[in-house]
């Protein structure tokens, strides 16, 4: 005796599944991104210079003659620091686009860490908070080093030299 499933009684309504099936067949939203530079060139040309602007923006030199303070001295200079922070933050997004993206959770985590620390860097620059810029600068350095240690350890060796280290 054949087994009858109650659900079979609904077979005349099978056509209701058509939209569900077609929804599954809907074309994937194509990623429109076109990388202009590979990851290495993005790092050397955009990310590192922007981070350097941020790191160099504030500091204190203590020597025999006293303390010399390094800080942006005009609204335009602060604007430059803030814009550099935007470049760092949005570079986290660029790292996740196209062929630059590495299909590993760690890569995404580091990219998002860069976005998050970049956001804090923007806030500190907008507040013209010297200590904040200094502290967040150290956080940026930590995110960079963490990612490099995982994916580009050769850039951490003092003897590596050359660009990008």
């Amino acid at each position: 005796m054949p087994i009858r499933f109650p659900l079979m009684k609904l077979k005349k309504y099978h056509w209701l599944l058509v939209p569900v099936f077609l929804y599954g067949c809907a074309p994937d939203a194509e990623q429109p991104f076109t990388e202009v530079a590979n990851l290495r060139d993005l790092m050397i040309t955009v990310v590192e210079p922007a981070a350097e602007v941020y790191w160099d923006a504030v500091g204190w030199i203590v020597d025999a003659s006293g303390t010399t303070e390094i800080r942006p001295s005009s609204p335009e200079e602060w604007e430059g620091v803030r814009n550099a922070a935007y470049q760092v933050a949005e570079s986290g997004n660029l790292m996740m686009m196209g062929d630059r993206a590495v299909d590993e959770p760690e890569w995404i985590a580091f990219s998002q860490a860069m976005i998050n620390v970049g956001r804090r860097a923007i806030e500190a620059a907008e507040a013209q908070d010297e200590q904040g810029v200094f502290d967040v600068g150290a956080e940026i350095y930590g995110v960079c080093n963490g990612c490099h240690a995982t994916y580009a350890s050769e850039t951490l060796r003092p003897s590596a030299g050359g660009e990008g280290d």
């Binding site: 939209p19 077609l22 074309p27 429109p32 955009v46 660029l94 923007i122």
Partner: protein
């Protein structure tokens, strides 16, 4: 009758499936790109400064290796800003938006090559193309663009 209903549902399903990507931008999930600032902030803090480096190439011409390197960075950031504009959460107008963003990508990439060649004349000649890429998108998507306040 059943066939007719099935055909109608099929057509409705096709229309729904095809229309979905255009009507609902795919939200940026927690696992992918996420916008850092508003559209205005992206313009003011990234696109305007980097495009100015191209627009004012004749009065701010790099004079050292370091300055040329900085200009390359500006040009690359300008070009890649087009990708930032194409992020699902930023794209506002389907195909037209992507088309307009590609204008920026193309001219930004050309500016990068010219900067790498240290070709001031080529950079200067890209001004018109860059200007056109800006106003084309603004005319399509910036409300009130071109009207007097």
């Amino acid at each position: 009758m059943t066939m007719r209903v099935s055909a109608m549902v099929l057509l409705a399903g096709v229309a729904f499936a095809q229309a979905l990507p255009a009507q609902q931008p795919v939200p940026d999930s927690g696992g992918g790109p996420q916008p850092v600032g508003t559209m205005s902030e992206l313009m003011v803090h990234l696109i305007y400064p980097t495009s100015d480096a191209i627009f004012y190439i004749l009065t701010r011409t790099p004079t050292s290796t370091a300055e040329w390197g900085a200009l390359e960075g500006q040009a690359l950031m300008l070009a890649e800003s087009a990708n930032l504009l194409m992020m699902p959460s930023r794209a506002r107008g389907g195909e037209q938006w992507i088309k307009d963003a590609r204008l920026l990508l193309d001219v930004g990439e050309a500016a990068l090559r010219a900067a790498q060649d240290r070709d001031v004349e080529a950079l200067s000649e890209l001004n018109e193309q860059l200007y056109r890429s800006c106003i084309t998108c603004h005319q399509h998507f910036r409300p009130g663009y071109g009207r007097r306040p």
